[in-house]
Amino acid sequence: MDYGRPELADRLAAEYAAGTLRGAARRRFERLLPAHPQLRAAARAWEERLMPLTAAIAPVQPSGEVWRRISERIGGGDARTAPGGAWQRLAFWRSLAAFASVAAIGLAVLLANPTPQPPPIVVVLAPTGAASGAAPAATLVASISGDRSSLVTRAIAPLSIQPDRSLELWAVPTTGAPRSLGVLPGGSGTVALRGKVLAGADTLAVTLEPAGGSPTGLPTGPVVYAGKFSL
């Protein structure tokens, strides 16, 4: 079957999200997800469409025992930084692939690739409080793609900036001058990360600049958001 055919991909994804795709067909669909971006996008779109239907289900409180067992398993030393973490993570991705959450599938792609890529990095940019009133106190979330080729930012709440101002995103290295990653209209945008623009950087910062971005190539306005990360 040609899973690249849009109408077939869409039909399978619809039945996957609705839950009627079962048995061997469901397992085959889950196995195909990592290598088929079109299938993945279709499945994600159907999940976004259908999951709000679950909002009507009355909540049911699980017993306190469930959280106790969860915190036992995630506590006692950070499993993610334990020795052999990379292998544990790989094993985890395998179990996750069996899980077949479409949303988490970015990681399962690792398994399909001969040379594994690191997972995407999410950076939370908290408001600094500088220039209060100029930029609202909503948080920005930036996510750096697994292959480090692009960065997507999204404002948690809509931002309103004065029309004669722009928000500009910077990669700040531990030593040396900040490097501009581009202007973010409304706080949200996609940025291509060229060359080694993130090399040596440990902070993402957003400054308030004249419309269109800093005229000098270096920050001129106050830092209104900042967040630490490590590659």
């Binding site: 469409r49 506590g75 996750l96 979330v141």
Partner: protein
């Protein structure tokens, strides 16, 4: 009037932040995330797998995996509540194919058989304390666009989708429940989903045009 679909988006904003913090190892944020979402995810799982002990095991697996995968959550691609709910649903559906715990199907009352069911809510004849799939559907569809789109489906299309989605029934089980041929049910579900998609897309276009 509560509007679950709108509420869905609002809750999501907060959860993005918690997931991002859990992704960098913040256990307190993860505990808050659990507090805010576990009763929803548990209810979703319990609808599909009614064995309470198994449902709690599933929930435990879901959250342990969410903790480990939190750093891969991409707020630009998915709503957090959609992401979490999809993980829980997939895990619950997986548990059905392995276990023998498939919920016993309620059988329809004799009154429903042999009647022309085209415009009759067959499932309404099933006695059950818990809200049925159709009740849930009508509650979920308070939000305008989704509600209007659901209303455009035929009664049987709606029932088929509700049984499949809420109870985790397969095509064959929906067919058995509604006492309809398998092929008929398959095509109801397929057409219902397509109609829903087309209708929701239309609603987005209309809303977009109205806002501009």
């Amino acid at each position: 009037m509560v509007k679950p679909a709108a509420d869905w988006t609002e809750r999501s904003l907060d959860l993005s932040r918690l997931l991002a913090r859990a992704g960098v190892g913040d256990r307190a944020a993860f505990a808050t995330l659990y507090e805010r979402t576990s009763s929803h995810l548990f209810a979703v799982v319990l609808r599909i797998n009614r064995d309470r002990a198994q449902a709690e095991d599933i929930l435990q697996e879901v959250y342990v995996n969410v903790w480990r995968a939190a750093q891969s959550f991409d707020a630009a691609q998915s709503q957090p509540l959609t992401w979490l709910t999809s993980i829980a649903r997939n895990r619950a559906i997986d548990s059905l194919r392995r276990g023998q715990t498939q919920p016993k199907l309620q059988t329809l009352g004799a009154a429903a058989s042999g009647t022309d069911a085209e415009d009759e809510d067959v499932y309404d004849t099933v006695a059950d304390d818990a809200p049925g799939p159709l009740d849930l559907l009508s509650r979920a569809t308070d939000a305008r666009a989704l509600g209007e789109c659901m209303d455009k489906l035929s009664a049987l299309q709606r029932q088929s989708v509700a049984l499949a989605f809420y109870q985790g029934l397969s095509h064959a089980e929906v067919a058995e429940q509604l006492r309809q041929p398998l092929g008929t049910v398959k095509s109801w579900v397929r057409r219902a989903l397509l109609a829903l998609k087309g209708c929701l897309q239309g609603a987005v276009v209309r809303d977009g045009a109205g806002a501009a």
